[in-house]
Symmetry: C2
Subunit: 355 residues, 2 copies
Amino acid sequence: MPEAVLQRAAAEMLDWHGSGMGVMEMSHRGKEFGAICTQAEADIRELLAVPSQFHILFMQGGGLGENAIVPMNLSRGTRADFVLTGSWSIKSHKEAQRYCEAKVVASNAADGHTRLPDPAGWQLSADASYVHVCTNETINGIEFQQLPDLAALGSKAPLVIDFSSHVASRPVDWSRVGLAFGGAQKNLGPAGLTIVIVRDDLLGHALQICPSAFNYKTVADNQSMYNTPPTWGIYIAGLTFQWLREQQEGELRGVAAMEARNIAKARLLYDFIDGSDFYANKVDPGCRSRMNVPFFLADESRNEAFLAGAREAGLLQLKGHKSVGGMRASIYNAMPLGGVQALVAYMREFERSRA
Amino acid sequence: MPEAVLQRAAAEMLDWHGSGMGVMEMSHRGKEFGAICTQAEADIRELLAVPSQFHILFMQGGGLGENAIVPMNLSRGTRADFVLTGSWSIKSHKEAQRYCEAKVVASNAADGHTRLPDPAGWQLSADASYVHVCTNETINGIEFQQLPDLAALGSKAPLVIDFSSHVASRPVDWSRVGLAFGGAQKNLGPAGLTIVIVRDDLLGHALQICPSAFNYKTVADNQSMYNTPPTWGIYIAGLTFQWLREQQEGELRGVAAMEARNIAKARLLYDFIDGSDFYANKVDPGCRSRMNVPFFLADESRNEAFLAGAREAGLLQLKGHKSVGGMRASIYNAMPLGGVQALVAYMREFERSRA
């Protein structure tokens, strides 16, 4: 997380803006928290250029919760289409089967989750209630570089994107999206806050068995305060939105500035890996994630030594997910270019010392 | 919230125990957060004297979320019994109807929610999957002074208690409870953390349509980490548990000490109200809440003046819920006796100045 956000949160812990209360002590119905929440919503709307026909909902339950909440709200108990591109979309598909006919319309399993299935080949249903894609797969390290244009592919269904792990790292083309959801913990704030951005016409179709607290229309009608919202998470996300809005790279600001930085960070790391025989990344260059970079040592017997040396150099959390193995560098928004430079320097030195 | 908790959270914001990370930056799967979560669970188990056959789950969604999550996990689609004692139990009953036959076995509506229905008169089902009571109704200001003994009343069903608003203010008689749930925001921590304490034999019976993230067995099998838990909320609740464990009144410690303080705080306020013709509380003295004290001015045209003067005296959030009107003092665990003394002093002076 940005250090400036943490410092401000610490400074305001016992007294937010002279109110005599810390944020955790506020009633969520009071005017102080109301101001925090309204500002956070306005800031993320501006940051992500969310059009006015979309509602921004602050919810609970995380991405895994949304795997059930989306079909409870959108599927109408009929059919939904799923594009399987890695661990997260596979989980979403499995969970949706509780609520609707969840059809797999494309999968990259045969490629070991290393390339995105070409949208031209997706077997989209004529009558799907929605089409689900995970636009960044953290474990496999693959990312949609542009959103599919479902209308051009012959589907009338709204596109649902799970953008948990790359929200605010790049712009969103809302003309192609019906609903976007994400846990906040990667780029926006602390765990426990879920952000749902949903087009107006998709509200009001929830199944009878959808809990009121997770019914998008109920949440929208109550400005995210039907049940007590995760107030601290909204506050911290709000501080992060303000931090993001202030970011600048040349002429670029906000999310565009973050995107430029993320492109530079990812290029540095992928170029180094591709230029080395010691390290390898197996993902198709056309869909490599800017956020999560899995890589392997050619000699995997050196994995432990690599990780131990990294820890000594202050480079933490580099072990790959157990389902993939190897290493994984997660270089979310808050990671500066200097962090990636330090990683590349360590990788170069580790390779040199083993040559 | 206890000031000591807020101060410690501020001090550790950028570096928790020399780890080089703040809690909001930790992976929930890392050893640092694992230690925080394990300690929090051990501390609440000791504080509330939770027997070993109960699981302690850290979840999301709040009390309103649990209104759906409980019947999805416990009702088996059959019947559940509800005792209606005020706003919260009425909401719970309404929501449960999505999942099972939700039977009203007693209600205090005819008494204007001012007295608890005598358990001897409850029309308990022979075959209920559970019996739901809200053990403290915040809006109406009524509280169970002891839990019903369902076995003695002829029911074999487990008792489910919504203890959101008085958890850790008094001991719990677990021999009478199957499941207890509560949002943490009143006595335990920030909004966004839900605590569920559930007996082992009640796991594993969820309906097919129960979301995985809210299936108690799934959550228990994964030590509350099936989905990313609300890490900050667990951390703050953990600090609050430690603060509670350190509290002492004479020979009493922890929750017993809190209970002694809460009895003293409530007695001071109720005795003052009962001794005045200017103020009144309508709740049967046998079930008055120690946490939430609704009261009315005999001359309600003075309400605005009362509230304005209170604000000037630094006494905030005294307006009663719109469904009840009048005033309401919420005197949760973190409110010291001095806070109640200041309120009573203000009320006495307001009365005197209007005499």
